[in-house]
């Protein structure tokens, strides 16, 4: 059905395109600027001669990052925390979510409340900090002196993610489960052979939420590493923050001798921290959209 555009519709269309163009460019620009600044010459970066494209191209900032052992160390730590943290969190959540999805579970509403209450009320920073310190002592007493295991096991669990998994498991039809039980499957086999394959996309989404929160984890990692005094365990986010604090420090700036600008060094770090996520972005984007959608509708 062809018809003429109304004036109001035309105006709305123009506004849509204009606004979206401006907003998307505003979202993109800081990244382009960060990349350009990280590879531009010191003078160009310092005096705002870089607007969009790099000027007097140098790669020294990147070279110095890649030559920095602390950086690789921080990267390895972050990878460790992300991989093990995600595996642990998703494992615990799948088991818990599966049990909670069963109507025959006694005290089911009690267990649900136990979870949901943590979404409503949290003890706050100070009690949590004291609690982590104590746990760290307990961990040390049994021989786990690395803070990273504490971070992996104690932090980043989220009640919301368990509820998402529970809802997905509830959606699996019980006939298939019954068929599996008739075939002699045990509880664990039902979970691994029926429920997990049938809720793959939710599991992927939740794993992604966990992974991203682990990759981004900063505050507690910094507190616990400061408390235990083991700076070589710091993850990437803490490393970046400390460098930012250092590079905007007047004393550091006064004694700056590198051929590139300290600003380039920071921008280079930003680029390096974003790139891995950009690389996997196309693969994870569809899960992200799905997960949010599901979270919104189910509530």
């Amino acid at each position: 059905m062809k018809r003429k555009l109304e004036v109001s519709e035309l105006i709305f269309k123009i506004i849509s395109y204009t606004f979206l163009t401006i907003f998307s460019l505003a979202c993109l620009y800081p990244f382009v600027y960060a990349v350009s600044s990280s590879i531009s010459g010191a003078h160009a970066v310092d005096y705002n001669e870089v607007i969009l494209f790099p000027k007097d191209i140098q790669f020294d900032a990147f070279k110095s990052i890649f030559g920095n052992n602390q950086f690789w160390n921080a990267y390895t730590n972050t990878l460790f925390l992300t991989v093990y943290g995600t595996i642990w969190a998703i494992g615990v959540s799948i088991l818990g979510g599966y049990a909670l999805s069963k109507k025959r579970l006694l005290f089911r509403s009690g267990f649900n409340f136990f979870l949901v209450f943590t979404m409503w009320f949290s003890a706050g920073i100070v009690p949590q900090y004291l609690n982590y310190l104590k746990t760290q002592k307990v961990f040390a007493a049994v021989g786990i002196t690395d803070v990273k295991w504490l971070i992996v096991i104690a932090m980043g669990m989220a009640a919301m993610n368990i509820i998402l998994l529970r809802n997905a498991f509830e959606g699996v039809s019980s006939e298939i489960e019954e068929a599996a039980i008739v075939d002699g499957a045990t509880e664990f086999q039902v979970l691994t052979k029926v429920y997990i394959p049938m809720s793959q996309s939710t599991i992927a989404t939740v794993a992604l939420f966990f992974g991203i929160s682990r990759w981004n984890g900063y505050f507690w990692a910094r507190q616990m590493i400061a408390a235990s005094g083991s700076p070589n365990e710091q993850p990437l986010q803490v490393f970046i923050r400390l460098l930012l604090e250092d590079y905007t420090n007047l004393e550091t700036l006064a004694s700056w001798t590198a051929p590139y600008s300290p600003n380039s060094a920071i921008y280079a770090l930003i680029v390096v921290a974003i790139i891995p996520i950009l690389v996997i972005y196309p693969f994870i984007q569809k899960y992200f959209a799905k997960g949010v959608n599901m979270g919104g509708v189910k509530e």
Partner: protein, 347 residues
């Protein structure tokens, strides 16, 4: 004896005890035994719950035990259980005291509320507007490009995002000039050149604006997914029906699209109101400075400085407890409103 226990026996022509009730009584008496048998039979299922319960118990509920410290006199080196009770003295000192601490607490409480409230006012409508705009783009490729670009900032960590904001707005210093965005704003006349040179993040007047704009920049595109999903779920027949009734494109927007996404909007709005006081402290902590505390300090950051960087842990946790309990009341209130609202549909 209760009448329900008696049944009329036709043969003997008299009332007698209901045999079924006896079974019911037995079940009631042996309830725990039966429950226990069920648990034993299904032990694998209960075993699966154990890790989750342990994690939440140890790192979510045990800290609540530390909260007892708010009602006690802080004594360094002692366990919470060993300290002496002091009732609500810490709360009184914090809320109605005459020290600068009290002023700082109420300032932080106000800032927490205001940062959230402005987020609700300016940040909340943006994703909805974006979703309506996305819906106008008929070319799938172009729309995907817009979507991918607007989701981008969400993929940065808070640290990277705040680092970027800090760099783009930074003050002029020894070796370099003002951040590129700050100098652009100064050139456009939105801020004065002096303010830009002194660093926008050093100026308490700009903190809230920076916080909100960076929040919209970071999250609006990503948050629009929910609304856009609601829009594309609208059945094409609704549009056709509206067209037959003579509705133009704008009328369709008014009478089809907006009513269809309204339930999603209401749910999201109620959630947002529920979390009015639970503001992400990480971002504030990474963006604020001593000279912007006036507008930037929130209860969590106030408690963090008081409790972890010296001061009183008891008073710090009391501060957060006031904030969190108020927050919990808001969440539960908003949830019960949500339950009512979803029963009584708006359209």
């Amino acid at each position: 004896m209760n009448d329900e226990y008696l049944v009329y026996n036709e043969e003997l022509k008299c009332y007698e005890l209901d045999p079924e009730q006896k079974v019911r009584d037995d079940v009631e008496k042996n309830r725990w035994k039966l429950n226990w048998q069920l648990i034993v039979k299904d032990w694998r299922l209960y075993l699966m719950l154990v890790p989750m319960i342990l994690v939440f118990l140890l790192w979510r509920y045990l800290p609540m035990y530390e909260l007892l410290g708010c009602f006690k006199i802080t004594e360094v080196g002692k366990k919470v259980a060993e300290m002496n009770w002091c009732g609500f003295a810490n709360f009184k000192a914090l809320m109605f005291g005459t020290t600068t601490q009290t002023t700082a607490f109420w300032r932080a409480f106000r800032n927490t509320f205001l940062l959230s409230f402005y987020g609700l006012l300016f940040g909340f409508p943006m994703p909805i507007i974006l979703a309506l705009f996305f819906n106008e783009i008929k070319s799938n490729i172009l729309r995907s490009v817009y979507q991918v670009l607007t989701y981008l900032p969400k993929f940065m960590s808070t640290v990277v995002m705040t680092t970027l904001v800090t760099m783009l707005l930074k003050q002029g210093d020894l070796v370099s000039s003002t951040g590129i965005v700050a100098s652009a704003l100064a050139k456009l006349g939105i801020v004065t050149q002096e303010a830009a040179n002194a660093g926008l993040l050093n100026n308490p007047n700009f903190f809230r604006t920076i916080y909100q704009i960076s929040g919209i920049w970071e999250g609006a595109g990503y948050d629009s997914i929910v609304y856009f999903a609601a829009i594309i779920a609208i059945s094409p027949t609704s549009y056709e029906a509206a067209q037959i009734d003579g509705a133009g494109k704008m009328a369709q927007m008014r009478y089809v699209v907006i009513p269809s996404i309204l339930s999603t909007v209401v749910i999201m709005l109620i959630n947002r109101i529920g979390s009015l006081l639970s503001i992400g402290y990480e971002k504030v902590m990474l963006l604020y400075k001593a000279n912007t505390f006036v507008t930037a300090d929130v209860v969590s950051t106030f408690a963090y400085r008081l409790g972890l960087e010296g001061g009183s842990q008891a008073i710090a946790s009391a501060a957060e407890m006031i904030n969190n309990i108020t927050g919990m009341i808001l969440v539960i209130g908003a949830n019960s409103i949500a339950r009512k609202a979803s029963d009584v549909s708006l359209y």
